[in-house]
Symmetry: C2
Subunit: 196 residues, 2 copies
């Protein structure tokens, strides 16, 4: 019997070698990604670079998309921290409206910055509990602070949706719109939703 009883829903303990390998893989993948681009990343290449069998890769990350998602998670976690405890107006301390504006711009830039990772992560990237549900809760909270009436969760969705990569991609990459204009459009949307 183990000395520490696992708490009911503990995310499952992890063997020491497993943890070590997980790090090796992530490091190798990150390096490969920023020297050849996410599009060129093959699982075999990662396996070789990490000195690990292919099976290990898939057991740990489920799929190529899963691996991309894990990579993405690292960056998103930093962003999340700067929202929760960074300097205002993105972080706490500014008034809700200013925080909302800062949120929109920051989200826009971050999404564009990690575009190819997000694209390659497919479903595992966007919408993986982590960043997505956090951002959602944050917007909901800000809307509450602004005294907005209505179905807050849905209004939050409405504000986030135009900031999703596919939409941004279409506007910026395909239609060649200026990022500033897209941001201004989003700010206008926010103004209307808030009812200022």
């Amino acid at each position: 019997m183990p000395h520490l009883l696992p708490l009911a829903d503990e995310p499952a303990p992890e063997r020491a070698d497993a943890a070590r390998n997980r790090e090796r893989v992530l490091a190798a993948a990150a390096e490969l990604v920023d020297e050849r681009g996410a599009d060129c990343l093959t699982m075999d290449a990662v396996a070789v670079a990490a000195g690990v069998g292919k099976g290990t890769l898939f057991r740990r990350f489920e799929s190529r998309e899963g691996l991309m998602g894990a990579l993405l998670n690292r960056s998103e976690t930093q962003w999340q921290a700067s929202v929760m405890s960074g300097p205002p107006p993105l972080g706490p301390g500014a008034d809700p409206w200013d925080r909302l504006m800062a949120f929109g711009r920051s989200r826009l830039e971050t999404t564009l910055l990690h575009a190819d990772l997000i694209r390659n992560a497919g479903r595992a990237g966007t919408r993986s509990f982590a960043a997505y549900s956090f951002a959602m809760a944050h917007v909901r909270h800000l809307l509450g602070g602004l005294g907005v009436e209505g179905d807050l969760p849905l209004l939050a969705v409405a504000l986030m949706a135009p900031l999703e990569l596919p939409v941004l991609d279409q506007q910026v990459t395909v239609e060649g719109l200026d990022v500033e204009r897209v941001y201004a459009g989003w700010a206008d949307l926010a103004r209307r939703v808030v009812g200022a």
Copy 2:
């Protein structure tokens, strides 16, 4: 010298056998899709079912996603027709606000209906000129008719974004939200954007 001079930007003439094969392929693919689901569709299976070489498939449709996109296009074209010339309130004849509401509901339902096709079509589905730019122009037009001030193209994007499959999927499939509630949320968003 050909009898009919090709007009400058003619979409390219197509040989008779090519056209015949294109139809065969689409028919075979459509049948396979609705008897086994889009997820299970393999290009080899389509090739065999259509009595055509694999190369032909790819020359014609570019990729698996392209084929899915073509399939999707057929349905979307019907929908488009009902917006342009069907009965009100979706079609012309009703006042802009009612048309907008009908548009939202219809779009929501159509997207959910073709969900697996859209998912499998990837970029080729959403955002392929056809349905997307048409819907965009339509919304822009309705907003204009409602006397909305501002950057209409961007406001149109803001109204369409929450109706894109990934967003809907998250809400309906993952979070288990009721479709009616999602629709109500969208209607509320529209109300705020229009400023009623």
